[in-house]
Symmetry: C3
Subunit: 293 residues, 3 copies
């Protein structure tokens, strides 16, 4: 078995000297648009603000959904404001998801669901549509008259909604009672799912796809890390080419390729001190087949 450091024991409960709520922020806005959202948040709540990322690929709901699913589970209970929103200004719904002790706020385009399911774990995931009319749109200082815009709901709708959820101590029920939120069936939401890998019956072959490539060039597949359990120090064929299976990058020579278990628990193609995407010549969505020798 792969040594399983991730599951030793539950982390120490936080010593919360402060009762300030926490809001995380995620978008494809780069700068300076996230600052407008933070200004709105700071106007309405004293919540702590922590950025997940604002440089996700423009309009790429799927990549952001993947990372939200992988990163948010490391946070304590929080309101997670996430806006990758190619449908801004249309009638796509604005959502609040209650996922156990976590709350997600963002557009109904699949962005939130993968993270919501994981954060809910064995508790019920519940979805609520935000009534835009019930949300107090920010009025900037020295506002220009008549300059109505429908292109930045992150600032005008989602940030105010996230602030409201945070300031009401995530009391979703009261927001339903006053009409700000309306419960909607989960099955009516736009979904985002990631393909399942195929693992051969003998456990010697797995076929998956590249889900994302990270900033180091590490190629993250959808093949579970368990597939490599007990294999460190052996070799596998990756799309037909022989590559060492290693515990981590520096277990192979500088600039050499390896197959490892990445930090999110998936089989990962990498290069020690280099870029796996270049060395393996693969891109997001392409097939990866692993076979033990």
């Amino acid at each position: 078995m792969v040594p399983d450091r991730n599951h030793e024991d539950v982390p120490t409960a936080p010593d919360t000297q402060t009762q300030r709520p926490l809001i995380t922020l995620t978008s494809d806005f780069n700068t300076p648009y996230p600052a407008a959202m933070k200004g709105v948040l700071a106007t309405r709540t004293d919540a702590r603000l922590i950025d997940v990322a604002h440089d996700f690929p423009p309009q790429d709901v799927r990549t952001a959904a993947f990372w939200l699913r992988e990163i948010l589970p490391y946070f304590p209970p929080a309101v997670h404001l996430a806006v990758v929103d190619p449908g801004v200004g249309t009638d796509r719904r604005a959502l609040v998801l209650r996922a156990g002790d976590h709350t997600l706020v963002g557009p109904d385009n699949g962005l939130l669901l993968p993270a919501g399911r994981r954060l809910a774990a064995d508790r019920e995931l519940e979805a609520f549509a935000i009534d835009p009319e019930a949300i107090s749109t920010p009025v900037p200082h020295g506002a220009r008259a008549g300059a109505g815009s429908h292109t930045f709901d992150g600032r005008d709708l989602f940030a105010p909604a996230a602030a409201l959820v945070a300031q009401t101590d995530t009391d979703i029920d009261s927001l339903v009672a006053d009409g700000t939120l309306e419960a909607v069936p989960l099955e009516t939401l736009v979904d985002c799912s990631f393909p399942e890998p195929q693992v051969g019956d003998n456990g010697e072959t797995a076929t998956g796809v590249v889900l994302v490539i990270d900033g180091f060039g590490n190629v993250i597949t959808n093949i579970p890390g368990q597939f490599l359990a007990g294999r460190y120090g052996t070799r596998a064929h990756v799309n037909g080419e022989s590559v060492p299976v290693a515990r981590s990058y520096a277990h192979v020579a500088e600039s050499s390729r390896l197959l490892t278990v990445g930090s999110h628990g998936f089989a990962e193609l990498a290069v020690n001190g280099g870029r796996g995407d270049v060395a393996f010549d693969v891109a997001v969505g392409e097939t990866v087949t692993l076979t033990f020798e």
Copy 2:
């Protein structure tokens, strides 16, 4: 009329459980220089710190001034520390602007004025020169002897000044009384203004320029959004080419061009899921003419 969601009502007053001041930071420093400013601030004040952006184009006072004017009005009362400072180390003045409940700190090169005027709204905008001799320059741990430098006033002058303003609860008058600040006439400040568009008497033609291009490639002009009021669903000529006028990006087909009202209330050239600057082949400062068909 364009539906005017931005002006429904005044936002809810913040439920400030904390009385910590707020400092925003803006620069063209990228990393890691802003962290030196934050270290200085954290040494001298317990203010909350929120970044606006640190990746504005190097030395481009004008672009940063535009964004400060558009983004800062979404913040609650705060001290806004902004440093795009090609004249660092010269005798250009260091400024504090009092703009209503907001305070701006930065160089006298036009960077602060557009935002200051907007934040002041119908209150008086007041300018003060900082006496550098009255500011306690940071001494880092383990400082090298005799390594006097005049190239980083963000760290050595403006951050200490911003901390001082924040810690005195923005009591500018006391800082004038003790000689740290000196009132200076507004008309002596280096200004930064943006060109005014020309709108034809019949309201059918407007000529403006490109003010900035954002990270998505959206082309932000100086033509006010009101010019497009009631025109969604029609078409306009943009520099002679026919383009749909749309409420938002996804109201046109994927990869198609559109003319819309951007999030700051200006007419904006965009592409649904693509880059407007590329599709319209325009750059900052170039002319944009809009004519209704």
Copy 3:
């Protein structure tokens, strides 16, 4: 003498209305990996979090070590979590350094030592190895079974250790007493040193190397700024070419080259409004010779 604004007097003691600890974060992770570390930290401590940088060159311990040494001394006492860690997953040690009132946490690969020595100043620098078995590894919500990974100690080991140090009020001794930390001799640590420049006996010639190039393209050498003391307004030969020695960038014409004292006290090659690395055609590690005319 160069006017020495950096050493006027000690900065005002902070008016700490809050007793929350401070943790700085530094890495080569870009986004969104630092957010996973912040989630772990926020789960275990209410410390303030301030980023130094997360875009250092991948695996480049040396460049990150330089910047940590130059930036961290501007911070008040804090726990500094720094992870540029090409040896992740190997048996390289995990360290805590006690440097005066500062504490550093990161891998034993030279990353922390230059900053640690400077932060300790005239106090003893002490090193401690972290027992990974004593650290409670984060268990994310909805964790996948058996997905053991050894590729992200920033999240799984260093962030928990930094949180522990912060929450115990940096009481290193108690962490030694309970076996979490073990004192180790400084001389057993992997070191990182920067070359010393050679300054001629007559003070007219200095030969050094390029340590780093910053985001503006400024070329930071290891030649101390004192070498330029009293020379502003004169000229020097830089690798044989005549260049003005100037107090700051704008003291030469737009797009012109200059030699100045950079913000960390080293001789710096720059261009007013441009990139020094391009204009001087030098790269990190290359030799720079300065000779007064």
